[in-house]
């Protein structure tokens, strides 16, 4: 028999509705979806019992798309139309991708963004990733909602900690394209630290060494009294298990004198190389055998030692960022209590040895390195959706992996936000004009650690116009950088004496604009024979109801912060929204939600002030950190 629920006095009388949220690990090789069920994080399986979904997308001539195992089954036969390791292409141009010559795709190199010409048309990495996410979303909806017709409250989608702005934007676009409400982009090593830390009640300094299929991250965290604080992060967004396959593949081609391989042969030998790499984790020797399309047989015996020699410098490439992260955290290896290993590639014994050698301790392998990220994301999603239970009151403090700055005279970078700044964060810096009578200023936002603009990644350019003509150096241009909790940047510039303003949400040239996303979303919905209008109405109703609930809850706590007329205006706006939610015009609902948001803005600010004051005077006894 289940116990009856009684709400806490002062709480809403309705028992708290459990909102369904998932964590998604969108991996280079495999992707997973997980959720928290009865307080326990679990990975959701497909019908055949597979938890891992191979991150492969095959485009067919008739426009159909195969994702996962069906795509994998056709990989060797149809390599040009089967996109693997698409994560490596996210937010990237052709020149950014290593070993592109070994990729059997027909690339379309537009300025900035890379695309692939397939049997079903030209596809972007964002679209291919969205296909993977759509399958995971369907898996989650089927398992968690069934035929009851509800909706997922949202998803936390993980990204490598070392992903830059363009790669994060691309990932978020893919999730939106798949119809997911993105609660947060969460750094993969941080997700792993949550899963590990909560499971083991860990306290102290931990390093998370995350070597995935295509990316490497190292994060140093301090776990203390329910706070997960990332102290430093570093990595290589283009280094992973795939590169180990490449080395083996190259050795195979070289030693057997193979050149000018067809895409089919390249793909099949890469797959063989990968299988050999996996076998060499537990075997001292493996024999690679393959038959080329022309009928020629290829055979090569590789010993474990041989493989380690071939890939030793790849392992070394992970140790330099690891040392850097420790230095940024002002720590020595002896300060590190444990090293959590994440990602399938950490199964390789020589990786384990190298990491153990550097940290002078045996790495921790007690969590499944393939699943720990998805589990951590699910835990975070559960909390963000509002399903927080007593004892789950932990706090996550993450950082930006790369410095953000703007271009100044001579092509030099002025750093505005240094790497490892805790997010969300904001920083303003003043700049001035270079010429007498200068009335416009071009602001070029860059990301990276180097001093020259040309060595950093260009994120956005925008102009501040209407500066009153003044002597050179007299204008005061205040440029404000703001990074939100997803690690995404917006920049605003303002001239102090006149108040002339200009702002951009940094949409890297690699990204898609909102109009493109909306159109693609519309196309995909139409493709799925859904009623666009009905779907929009449903979404706006949910949003409207959420808004009413959130505002009423705020009023219950803090109505005394409002003057009588302010309170009356808010109440009237809530009632108007309630009426519209009952109707069927989604545009009107949206307009009223926006209006309610606008008029409650000052109220929200006063509430924050009160919360801060209360936090210091101990009004909130539940405060952490004591």
């Amino acid at each position: 028999m289940s116990l009856l629920q009684i709400a806490e006095p002062g709480d809403s009388t309705a028992p708290h509705e459990h909102r369904i949220a998932v964590g998604i690990d969108l991996g280079t090789t495999n992707s997973l979806v997980a959720t928290v069920r009865n307080g326990i994080p679990v990975v959701l399986n497909d019908h055949e019992g597979h938890s891992l979904l191979p991150s492969m997308v095959r485009y067919l001539r008739d426009g159909r798309v195969q994702v996962g195992f069906p795509a994998q089954a056709q990989l060797a036969r149809d390599p040009r139309n089967t996109v693997v390791s698409v994560k490596r292409f996210m937010g990237r141009g052709l020149k950014d991708v290593a070993h592109i010559e070994n990729c059997p795709y027909d690339f379309v190199d537009q300025p900035g963004i890379l695309k692939i010409r397939t049997a079903a048309g030209v596809k972007s990495p964002v679209e291919a990733s969205a296909e993977i996410l759509r399958v995971l979303r369907a898996r989650a909806e089927e398992a968690l909602i069934g035929k009851s017709g509800g909706a997922l409250a949202g998803a936390v989608v993980t990204v490598p900690a070392y992903f830059d702005e363009a790669q994060r934007e691309a990932t978020r676009d893919a999730a939106r394209l798949a119809g997911l409400n993105v609660l947060r982009l969460l750094n993969e090593p941080t997700a792993a630290a949550i899963a590990y830390g909560l499971d083991n009640a860990a306290e102290g300094i931990y390093a998370v060494y995350d070597l995935g299929g295509g990316t490497f991250d190292i994060s140093i965290l301090r776990l203390s009294r329910g706070v997960f604080e990332v102290m430093a992060t570093n990595g290589d967004a283009a280094l992973g298990g795939d590169d180990f396959d490449q080395r083996l593949f190259c050795a195979l081609a070289e030693r057997r004198g193979l050149s000018m391989l067809s895409p089919e042969d390249t793909r099949s030998l890469l797959t063989k190389s990968r299988e050999a790499k996996e076998l060499l984790t537990s075997q001292t020797e493996v024999c690679i055998t393959a038959r080329l399309a022309a009928g020629e047989a290829v055979e090569l015996t590789v010993t474990q030692e041989d493989f380690w020699d071939l890939t030793r410098n790849l392992v070394a490439k992970t140790l330099a960022p690891t040392r850097k992260a420790l230095r940024d955290a002002h720590l020595d290896v002896s300060d590190v209590k444990g090293v959590v290993m994440v990602g399938g590639a950490t199964r390789m014994p020589h990786v384990q040895q190298a990491v153990g050698g550097l940290f002078r301790q045996t790495p921790l392998n007690n969590l499944d390195p393939d699943k720990v990220v998805a589990l951590g994301a699910a835990i975070q999603a559960n909390v963000l959706a509002g399903n927080r239970h007593a004892g789950e009151d932990w706090l996550l403090l993450d950082v930006i992996p790369l410095s953000l700055g703007i271009e100044t005279m001579g092509g030099l970078v002025e750093r505005v936000l240094p790497r490892n700044s805790t997010i969300p964060t904001a920083r303003a810096q003043e700049f001035t004009t270079f010429r007498d009578g200068q009335t416009a200023m071009s602001i070029h936002v860059v990301q990276g650690e180097r001093e020259l603009v040309s060595d950093c990644r260009s994120l956005a350019r925008f102009e501040l116009r209407g500066i009153p003509p003044m002597a050179a150096g007299a204008a005061r241009i205040r440029v404000t950088f703001q990074v939100d909790a997803d690690g995404l940047l917006s920049v605003a510039a303002r001239e102090a004496s006149t108040g002339v303003e200009s702002a951009v949400t940094v949409k890297p040239s690699y990204g898609l604009d909102d109009g493109q996303i909306a159109q693609m979303l519309k196309d995909s919905i139409e493709h799925a024979q859904e009623d666009v209008r009905l779907r929009a109405l449903q979404e706006q109703r949910v949003e409207g109801e959420r808004m009413i609930e959130a505002t009423e809850s705020a009023l219950r706590d803090d109505a005394d912060l409002l003057a009588a007329e302010e309170l009356a205006a808010i109440r009237a706006a809530i009632e108007a929204l309630r009426r519209l939610v009952g109707g069927d015009d989604h545009r009107q609902i949206k307009a009223q939600v926006d209006r309610l948001n606008r008029i409650t803005e000052p109220f929200a600010g006063r509430r924050m002030d009160r919360i801060i004051k209360g936090a210091l005077t101990g009004r909130n006894v539940a405060a952490l950190g004591q």
Partner: protein
């Protein structure tokens, strides 16, 4: 950003506005505030609340970083007292300091070119001593002699930069 709170960074954390820092107190206040206003606590709130949470948390993070780092803390205190540290405008330094500074730079460059990590470490150590001495000095000056504090601050900025160069040189040697 139009934040309604008018408090300075010290008031925000309930700390006295002085250079000598109660580091444990700062961290305790920071964590208490963070645990209440962080965007993760407002993920399912209204958009207005979410935006306010993000902006306030950003400000709290900026305040925390400013007070935690001695160079930024000293500059912030000077600004509060109405003195411009003059990092760009005032480049006049005592000849002795300029000479000493050139000496540091040369020594770092030499050790760096020679690939002498041990020498770089030892330079780093004695630089640390000099920097600590100046921080003690600026703590006293900030109570009264603002002009002197501003000059000490400019010296510190130079030396912190040299220290970064040493770290960068060590990093290159390791790579």
């Amino acid at each position: 950003m139009n934040l309604s709170f008018k408090q300075n960074f010290f008031e925000l954390f309930g700390l006295p506005a002085r250079f000598a820092l109660d580091a444990a107190g700062l961290e305790r206040s920071y964590r208490r505030i963070q645990s209440q206003i962080h965007p993760d606590k407002f993920a399912h709130a209204s958009e207005a609340d979410r935006r306010a949470s993000m902006q306030w948390t950003a400000r709290v993070n900026e305040a925390y970083q400013t007070l935690k780092a001695p160079l930024a803390r000293a500059a912030y205190l000077l600004a509060l007292q109405g003195t411009d540290p003059g990092f760009e405008s005032n480049t006049s330094m005592s000849p002795e300091f300029l000479l000493a500074q050139m000496g540091w730079r040369e020594a770092v460059e030499e050790a760096s070119l020679a690939g002498d990590a041990r020498q770089l470490d030892s330079l780093s150590l004695s630089l640390r001593g000099e920097i600590d001495r100046l921080y003690a000095e600026i703590g006293r000056e900030l109570d009264g002699n603002h002009a002197a504090a501003a000059e000490t601050l400019r010296k510190l900025k130079f030396l912190e930069k040299v220290r970064e160069e040493i770290d960068a040189a060590l990093e290159r040697l390791e790579a």
